[in-house]
């Protein structure tokens, strides 16, 4: 029914031109057309946060946007949040150090969300972090390692004994 349209997108600092149907979700354009498969598609209706990307400085669900809406926007995916010299950004490094991932499916969403959140909120409280993390779902870790990774970057105390229940 609808014709394909040409959309110019800037992703991770590079200009791209894609020809897509208007109904094509940003998450699918990133993965299928630009082969940036770090953006994961979980629930595909805005609930799980696995597809989170940064659009014009703000973390958003890529599955709730049509690429056609984003002509002229600056998009950053998980591939674009690293320093580019082979090292990890502080939250990625903390995720590794704190064992914040198991299967890894949700990890790009957490990394993009928290990289953006901590950039904009460098001095959060512990409760702020838990609320900020609530928009991403993880089915493996029980969240403990992820919260501790965020605490590490924010300079908040990380409980020494993760099993003492003080962390709930």
């Amino acid at each position: 029914m609808s014709d394909e349209v040409i959309v110019k997108l800037n992703v991770n600092g590079r200009d791209h031109k894609v020809m897509v149907e208007a109904r094509k979700l940003l998450s699918d354009v990133l993965r299928d057309d630009l082969h940036l498969t770090g953006t994961h598609v979980g629930c595909e209706h805005g609930a799980c946060g696995a597809c989170t990307v940064i659009v014009d400085g703000a973390a958003v669900r890529a599955c709730l946007l049509f690429a056609v809406q984003l002509e002229g926007s600056q998009i950053v995916t998980v591939e674009g949040v690293t320093p580019g010299d082979g090292t990890l950004n502080p939250f990625q490094q903390a995720m590794q150090d704190c064992h914040g991932l198991q299967c890894g499916f949700c990890t790009p969403g957490f990394v993009v969300s928290m990289t953006n959140y901590l950039d904009n909120n460098p001095n959060p409280t512990d409760d702020d972090l838990k609320i900020a993390l609530s928009g991403n779902l993880c089915r493996c870790t029980g969240y403990r390692g992820i919260i501790n990774a965020a605490r590490t970057v924010a300079g908040l105390p990380v409980p020494a004994n993760a099993a003492d229940g003080s962390d709930h």
Binding site: R23, E44, H45, F66, S113, I131, G135
Partner: protein
């Protein structure tokens, strides 16, 4: 899990939007933040031949204060309003409601006007608009008109907007000194739709409540104004009594999340907490 095909329109003016709506009628839908609409499209609960994107329409994005009201344009992002000093000082009830909506990633895209036009009875902003007697500005083929919030919410997801009309702004009254506001809700998890919620506003003068506003959500097919509970508050009732009065008039339905009886019982508690917090902020 993919939306069905549609033609995408990104008009630059409100007149272009209303012209497109007049041309396509029922086959067209306006898109603001898309945080409710796009999931419905993806789940194929809704399908439209034409989507009309409001995000590039001129004049819909500002927050302006004038003559005792704060005007919030239709596509002001919830996150922008949440962090706006104008909203915090002029309409604290709105500022307090916004962090309850979804998650920060949702609020980065979702809009104040979209939430009110979507009119989900369990969402916060319709109840705030109703409690504060906000005015909804609508534009249609015949020009613009003002709709009182009390007349706007018709039923679940249904508003007084005519076919061919869009919400262009919401005007919230600014309360004077001695006011206090609170938004309380019960959710299973942070960011979920509220099982029960209340938005309360009070203004005190000489230790007495001289103005009261109480909006409820998650408790009926529309947001509800708790008029009898407001009267009790003005008559000097304490917060617990106001909560009981507010709950006594409710007949919430059962659903998969909670029974109606449970919602009714919790409503008394949530209203009490909201009134207590609003009174405290007002200096009682």
């Amino acid at each position: 899990m993919k939306p069905s095909s549609f033609n995408y329109h990104a008009p630059a003016s409100v007149n272009d939007v209303t012209a497109l709506l007049a041309e396509h009628g029922d086959d067209a839908k306006v898109l603001a933040g898309g945080q409710s609409l796009v999931p419905m499209l993806s789940l194929r609960l809704a399908a439209f031949e034409h989507l009309i994107d409001l995000n590039k329409v001129e004049g819909l994005a500002g927050i302006t204060r004038s003559n005792g009201t704060l005007r919030v344009g239709a596509v002001v992002r919830q996150a922008v309003a949440e962090h706006s000093a104008d909203v915090a000082t002029s309409v604290p009830m709105l500022a307090k409601a916004l962090p309850h909506i979804g998650h920060f990633q949702i609020r980065n895209r979702g809009t104040v006007g979209g939430s009110i036009a979507h009119a989900d009875p369990a969402s916060e902003l319709p109840a705030v608009a109703l409690a504060l007697d906000a005015t909804i500005e609508a534009a249609g083929p015949g020009g613009t008109r003002q709709i009182a919030a009390a007349d706007f919410f018709v039923s679940t997801w249904q508003t007084a907007l005519d076919e061919g009309e869009i919400l262009t702004a919401v005007e919230f009254p600014v309360w004077g000194p001695g006011s206090g506001f609170a938004v309380e809700e019960l959710t299973r998890r942070h960011g979920d739709f509220a099982l029960v919620g209340a938005a309360a506003g009070v203004q005190l003068s000489g230790g007495k409540v001289t103005k009261a506003a109480l909006g409820l959500f998650g408790l009926g097919p529309t947001p509800l104004r708790a008029a009898e509970a407001e009267a009790a508050l003005l008559a000097g009732a304490d917060a617990a009594e106001v909560g009981r009065v507010a709950a006594s008039g409710l007949n919430p339905l059962d659903d998969i999340h909670a029974s109606g009886a449970y919602r009714k019982q919790v409503a008394a508690v949530i209203v009490r907490r909201a009134v207590q917090a609003a009174m405290q902020e007002a200096g009682a």
